[in-house]
């Protein structure tokens, strides 16, 4: 369920040229075209969607590099 919500956020805010549904859960989102600028919008939208705040220690490239990585971060914050 949450991975689908993550995909939805990425679709609306990630500014990908490719169809987000064709991107695998473990694919590198930066390679797929997510810029640092777009990644901030993704972070903001994820915070809003999941009603949480990413602490600064999580605000780094590796935490947002794939759908799986984002999902793991959200699980860590909501468990």
């Amino acid at each position: 369920m949450s991975k689908e919500q993550i995909r939805q956020v990425l679709k609306e805010h990630g500014k990908f040229s490719a169809d987000i549904d064709t991107i695998a859960d473990d694919a590198d989102l930066y390679e797929a075209g997510m810029t640092s600028h777009a990644s901030v919008n993704v972070m903001l939208a994820l915070e809003d969607t999941f009603d949480l705040e990413f602490p600064d220690r999580m605000l780094k490239r590796s935490v947002f590099e794939s759908i799986n990585a984002i999902n793991a971060a959200i699980e860590e914050l909501t468990s």
């Binding site: 600064d56 490239r61 590796s62």
Partner: protein
């Protein structure tokens, strides 16, 4: 024992750099500026002293210098000729990127050995028509055919493009890649052509000779670095650039401040027993220089510590908080630099305003003004504004 060896290498490098600065950069600095020509005497002397390969590890024949040592060398060079220092800084950014990200790659390992022997000068090709100076996007793409690639890039600027031996180029990984999906590729002198598309007639940093060029290159696929450029950019290219430029800025500022100090000392000698009014302004000026130096030094110490510890698991260098900090260094330092030079100018007065006195500030001021534009501070502040939307200082 090890520390002793390291520090004696450091002092040898710095001593060589001082000789180059005094004997080859200083005598030609005004001509380089006036004629907007490459500081060929100083760069040849840097090659002669094997300073272009200073950062290459000792196992490959280099001096195994630290980033701190290179920052000191930039400072020493910039005191005499800021263009020479900037060329040296830009070259070292390329060498450091290769050493940090491609040292285990056979093609690059051999290249570094060759660099030590032949002292190749590497220029950077990141800017591009259509994306401007935004380093993290490319339009051009590597076109691979078997074991060879071809690449064409319409660069808005290539510093010392015409004088460089080799080029380190950003490009999209393949023709279908997103514009942020970039590779870094080293292309060799024999494998590229440059068509100059404009002039480099600027206020300052005139010796860097940075006009636009259309580059056409080819090479072996082994020359395409494996690590994505995005990762290298955050961990190495951006922080190392700001720190090496920091050495250039402190050197440029010191040159101006030292002229003001000499001017005030001269006034004091003419009237022993009284403190000249300019001495108060000098006291303020030296404090401004100290702040600039301290902020560069603090970021340098932290970066050297983090990059020694850093690994993919903790990734502090690729964090938003760290980007913000390094961006602040760039913006603050480059806002301070022209203010320092202007204050030095006001202390020396008309003698600094004249172009033919030993207190002339013209070149320092024009060189200093480049720092806030290359890379543009507004672009950096816009990035920070975006990052602050999620950063919490928690």
């Amino acid at each position: 024992m090890k520390t002793e060896t390291a520090s004696s290498t450091a002092s040898t490098l710095l001593t060589s750099a001082r000789s180059v600065a005094r004997d080859f950069a200083a005598p030609h600095a005004d001509a380089v500026d006036q004629e907007s020509r490459f500081p060929i005497e100083a760069v040849n002397a840097l090659k002669q002293a094997k300073l272009l390969s200073a950062y290459v590890p000792a196992e490959l024949g280099g001096a195994g210098a630290s980033l701190s040592e290179l920052v000191d060398i930039c400072d020493v060079l910039a005191r005499q000729c800021a263009s020479t220092a900037m060329v040296y800084a830009m070259h070292q950014i390329q060498v450091i990127t290769i050493v940090e990200h491609a040292l285990d790659h056979p093609w690059y390992r051999q290249y570094l050995k060759d660099l030590v022997e032949h002292q190749y000068l590497i220029a950077s090709v990141t800017s591009e028509v259509g994306v401007g100076g935004e380093m993290r996007r490319s339009q051009c793409a590597v076109d691979i055919n078997g074991s060879r690639f071809s690449l064409m890039k319409d660069a808005t600027t290539i510093s010392y493009g015409a004088q460089a031996d080799d080029l380190l180029v950003t490009a999209r990984r393949h023709p279908d890649a997103a514009n942020s999906d970039q590779s870094l590729i080293l292309v060799r002198k024999a494998d590229y052509t440059l068509e100059q598309k404009g002039q480099w007639n600027t206020m300052g940093m005139r010796g860097t000779c940075s006009p636009p060029f259309l580059m056409t290159a080819s090479g072996d696929v082994a020359q395409i670095m494996e690590v994505p450029f995005g990762a290298m950019s955050a961990q190495t290219v951006v922080p190392v650039s700001h720190l090496l430029w920091g050495g250039c800025w402190t050197g440029c500022a010191s040159a101006a401040v030292n002229k003001a100090r000499a001017f005030v000392r001269g006034q004091a000698r003419a009237h022993p027993g009284t403190v000249p009014p300019t001495a108060l302004r000098l006291a303020e000026l030296v404090s401004m220089l100290q702040s600039l130096r301290t902020s560069v030094q603090a970021c340098l110490t932290e970066y050297e510590q983090l990059s020694a510890e850093d690994n993919a698991a903790n990734g502090v260098l690729s964090s938003i908080a760290y980007s913000l900090k390094m961006n602040n260094l760039k913006v603050d330092a480059t806002q301070a630099l022209p203010q320092i030079v202007i204050k030095a100018l006001s202390i020396c007065g008309i003698l600094a305003y004249k172009n033919d006195t030993k207190f002339s500030m013209s070149r320092h001021l024009r060189d200093a003004l480049s720092s806030m534009l290359m890379v543009g501070n507004d672009r950096i502040l816009a990035t920070n504004a975006n990052l602050l939307l999620v950063l919490k200082d928690d």
